[in-house]
């Protein structure tokens, strides 16, 4: 800010600049100030003028070190390095299986690579994105970001309060320049320039013999908004991770789900999650519809998946209907219900020897391939007595194909995911299911270690392939199992993640800020009007932008064209017919010093800088 102020003063610089090098130095300073603060980007090389001890190794104690470290951390170079490290650090996570993405794959990898695994585990390569080193990179980056934004915001506010710096002495040195002579009074020209610039929403003010103007502050604002939005997004993402909950539930057609912890098949939550915050709602799966490509090379490719549900919000809200599709979750009270997977659940009836029904249920089976060949287990826990009236448990290994190839045609694998020719293959066991052993049991697997096989006439394991409606008779008087029909099941992921709105808002702000930052040019324009030696006014205009842009000369041309209407070009002096004097004029007021002559361009009369406009 102090710089900005000092540069404002320079407009009132006295032109008694005869004192050679003194003037040169002053000149340097002024020219520098003209471009100064066109952005708030931190300076990479700090001049060791201020109280700080320069950029080298700090000489003082702890405070010095901290300050040095902070200055390094918030410098552009370190931000750049951290960005680079961040992208480098993200790579391993895409090549090595990640626990957070696919647990099973990680397990397989560990089984296959016994030597690598311990090393990877040490380096946290199975959890890259929550690893200490990855977190360190992005936390440093964001500390750096905050350390960058705060002073830049202050600086920017300062710039908004102060005014564009005065014109550099030699406008000819700037990237875009134009000049002409006019008979209008210098004061009138400056007045008109103020008007022209103001009309184009430049912030303009007169400084000495010139008008200084600046435009495009939104660039800086956009840049700051973008960087702040990054922080908002990060915080929202972190909050989402900490407070989220996510669980899975498999529901067979006709069944329902209520959103309480006990109803979930599996449940994960962030470390700050509170189970009381589950949104109260429930739904019933009325129907699941899956259709598949019927013919052609992509036969069997899924076409539609739809879960038709009825849901109730709150404890006793009205019942509503909805359809959940793969890309269209059901949103209830901030919780989203996604359709994740689906499969078949054969409906079976088990009877004992007396014909009493001991189990009638649809049994969800797990798909093992794309054509939904499915496996699972049917378990009769209680209610069954064998022909001697002894209580025992029954178990069936189930293998289901929605579309069977036909007897003798290869293996028992499904040919098509739709239920075109469903067949259920069962094999029967009795004994103890081991349910009470205290060990967690997989509902889809049958533990036959404490069970005996039912035998057929040949003394082999009793098994049979059933079409809907068909029945497998167990041994004499032991009862039967009937394959009544098929239901479908769908599994849902129910997740709740706060902060999504903030993340989205941050993202939108980031894009808007970025667009402002990259598409808006911040630039300065100076108009100087002074009376030449011959009494004719010389107008000089020059523009300076943050980066060279083709638009800057164009804009300067537009401004000049507008100004020329009030300050028309003066007729040529007959004195020097081939060579107008104008080019020499601009610096005329400061004429005396010979030092400048060398660096000032010589003007060959025949080189009108043709084509420079492009």
């Amino acid at each position: 800010m102090s710089k900005a102020n000092s540069s404002t003063d320079t407009g009132a610089r006295t032109d008694a600049a005869g004192a050679g090098t003194e003037a040169e130095r002053e000149q340097e300073r002024v020219d520098h100030a003209a471009g100064e603060q066109l952005s708030t980007a931190p300076r990479e090389e700090r001049p060791e003028t201020e109280s700080e001890s320069g950029t080298g190794v700090p000489a003082m104690g702890v405070v010095g070190w901290i300050r040095w470290f902070w200055r390094q951390l918030t410098s552009m170079r370190v931000a750049l390095i951290l960005l680079f490290l961040l992208s480098l650090g993200a790579i391993p996570g895409s090549l090595i299986p990640q626990t957070s993405v696919d647990d099973l794959k990680v397990q397989n990898f560990k089984d296959q690579h016994t030597t690598l695994t311990p090393i990877y585990e040490k380096l946290q390569l199975f959890d890259v994105y929550s690893s200490v080193w990855f977190s360190a990179i992005y936390i440093l980056l964001f500390v750096s970001l905050i350390g960058c934004i705060v002073p830049r915001t202050g600086q920017f506010v300062g710039q908004l309060r102060s005014r564009p710096p005065g014109a550099p002495k030699r406008l000819t040195r700037l990237p875009a320049y134009t000049t002409w002579r006019t008979e209008a009074e210098p004061e009138a020209v400056r007045e008109a320039a103020l008007g022209v610039l103001g009309k184009r929403r430049f912030r303009a003010h007169p400084v000495g013999d010139a008008v200084a103007a600046e435009k495009g502050y939104l660039r800086e604002a956009g840049n700051l908004i973008f960087h702040i939005a990054l922080i908002v997004m990060l915080v929202a993402f972190a909050a989402g991770q900490l407070f989220k909950s996510e669980g899975g539930k498999l529901v067979v057609e006709g069944d329902g789900f209520a959103n309480t912890l006990t109803q979930y098949d599996d449940f994960k939550s962030g470390s700050l999650y509170d189970s009381d915050s589950l949104a109260p709602f429930s739904f019933v799966l009325d129907d699941f519809v899956g259709t598949y490509e019927e013919s052609g090379p992509q036969r069997g490719t899924p076409r539609t998946f739809e879960a038709r549900v009825k849901y109730t919000e709150g404890a006793d809200g009205p019942e509503r209907k909805s359809v959940i599709r793969v890309n269209e979750p059901l949103v209830v009270d901030g919780t989203k219900v996604y359709l994740i997977a689906h499969g078949y659940a054969p409906v079976v009836t088990v009877r004992d020897g007396k014909g009493k029904v001991v189990l009638r249920s649809s049994v969800p089976l797990l798909p093992i391939d794309n054509n939904i060949t499915s496996t699972g287990a049917i378990k009769v826990m209680d209610g069954y007595r064998d022909r001697y009236g002894v209580k025992t448990q029954l178990g069936f290994k189930a293998f289901f194909v929605p579309t069977f190839a036909g007897h003798g045609k290869g293996q028992m694998f499904s040919q098509f995911p739709g239920a075109e020719f469903p067949v259920l293959a069962l094999s029967a066991y009795r004994g103890s299911l081991g349910v009470d052993s205290g060990l967690p049991q997989n509902v889809y697997q049958l533990d036959t270690s404490k069970m005996k096989e039912f035998k057929n006439e040949d003394g082999e394991l009793l098994k049979k392939m059933l079409r809907p409606g068909e029945k497998l008779d167990l041994a004499d008087g032991e009862g039967s199992i009937t394959f009544d029909g098929i239901e479908e099941w769908a599994s849902f992921q129910i997740s709740q993640q706060p902060g999504n709105g903030w993340a989205l808002g941050g993202a939108i702000a980031a894009i808007a800020g970025l667009a402002g930052s990259l598409f808006i040019q911040r630039r300065r324009v100076w108009v100087r009007a002074v009376r030449g030696e011959d009494g004719v006014t010389v107008v000089e205009m020059a523009g300076l932008g943050r980066s060279e842009s083709a638009k800057l000369p164009e804009e300067l041309g537009d401004l000049a064209a507008a100004l020329i209407t009030t300050a028309p070009v003066a007729p040529e002096k007959p004195v020097a017919p081939e060579k107008p004097v104008a080019p020499e004029k601009p610096d005329a007021p400061e004429k005396p010093d010979a030092n400048e002559a060398g660096s000032r361009p010589v003007h060959p009369a025949d080189a009108p800088a043709e084509g420079a406009e492009k």
Binding site: M76, F84, A90, S100, T179, G296, T301, P302, Y338, N500
Partner: protein, 358 residues
């Protein structure tokens, strides 16, 4: 149903024919460009070299002549431009044709052929879309043909805007041929409908912007590579070295290093917000499709890496000591990340983006 399938099949066939035809026309454009460069090499250009050796004169550019003529009151004054301090003041080369009439003629023929090839290829993409009745970018084949169409389209738009970009013609047409060659041989997939996971209007938004970003980033990358060559050439000249004859003949016809650098920067900077949007749109879609908006799926990871790499490039441009060549290398790394995201991830890594079947 069958009838519809039949028309679809014939449309798909038409699409294939159009793609092959466009390859033929691109090949002609390629040869026309070669002719342009060869004929152009016969001209005595030598301007750049002269400009460099006489750089003292070059620096005195801001020569101004006040608007002459007493009557031309409303005439627009001339604006003199001048490079910022620290950059070489080297004029742009005259282009591939080297200012020769014949070279220029062939260059124009090449551009016309490119326009034709573009139209034919675009027809191929559209018929493909019609044959499957959806956006034509559900697998790598479709992605590739759309990608090259958009790259050529962007180039033609720049040409139509009268930007000085004809120098991109030869490298672009060459790589488009390469891209299409790979597409029709190894990546080809029969046209078909989408799996339900891809049924979403986000497909239109997310994937179309991804393709546009890639195509335009590609133009930027070509500019960057040429910048690096041209910059070493200029360095060599400025250092008093004499580049090889062939290098000199090619390089002196290109725009100056600073023009190429600016071109690449503008392209990359202009697309960066769109790329940001692409990633965010993808995250929103992922939120709907998979129940989380960000899950470090390989495709997501590489989009992120690409994004960070481009951000690093933009930062480098604003960091003392990193401008110029170092920033250019970063830009190339960033584009390599994009390419890997597109080809590498689909081929070498498995993730949720399973449509990416080869």
């Amino acid at each position: 149903m069958n009838l519809a399938a039949a028309t679809n099949e014939s449309l798909a066939h038409t699409s294939n024919v159009l793609i092959y035809s466009s390859m033929a026309v691109y090949t002609l454009a390629f040869f026309a460009h070669i002719a342009e460069w060869v004929l152009g090499s016969r001209s005595k250009v030598g301007r750049t070299a002269a400009a460099l050796s006489g750089s003292a004169a070059g620096a005195s550019a801001p020569v101004v002549v006040a608007q002459g003529g007493s009557t031309a009151v409303l005439e627009r004054p001339k604006v003199v431009t001048r490079s910022a301090a620290g950059t070489r003041d080297v004029p742009d080369g005259p282009g591939a044709a080297g200012g020769t009439f014949k070279g220029d003629l062939w260059g124009r023929i090449a551009v016309s052929l490119t326009v034709v090839a573009f139209a034919v290829e675009a027809g191929g993409v559209i018929t493909r879309a019609l044959s499957v009745q959806r956006a034509p970018w559900a697998n790598m084949y479709e992605f590739s043909i759309t990608f090259s169409t958009v790259a050529v389209g962007s180039y033609l738009v720049l040409l139509a805007l009268k930007k000085n970009v004809r120098w991109i013609g030869l490298p672009l047409v060459t790589t488009v041929l390469l891209d299409l060659g790979i597409a029709v041989t190894t990546l080809y997939t029969d046209s078909d409908q989408l799996v339900p996971a891809l049924h979403s209007y986000w497909l239109w938004i997310h994937v179309s912007t991804a393709i546009i970003c890639g195509a335009v980033f590609y133009l930027g990358a070509v500019g960057t590579v040429l910048y690096l060559f041209r910059d070493s050439y200029e360095n060599k000249l400025a250092g008093g070295g004499t580049p090889g004859k062939f290098a000199a003949s090619v390089m002196e016809r290109l725009p100056s290093a600073s023009s190429l650098d600016k071109f690449a920067y503008r392209i990359n900077a202009a697309v960066f917000p769109l790329w940001t949007f692409t990633i965010i749109a993808g995250a929103i879609w992922a939120g709907d499709a998979w129940g989380r908006y960000w899950g470090w799926d390989p495709k997501e990871v590489w989009s992120f890496i690409t994004w960070v790499a481009y951000a690093a490039y933009l930062h480098a441009r604003a960091t003392a000591g990193w401008k110029g060549r170092k920033a250019a290398y970063l830009a190339l790394v960033a584009f390599a990340c994009w390419l890997f995201n597109y080809y590498g991830v689909n081929i070498f890594v498995t993730g949720l983006h399973s449509y990416a079947g080869v």
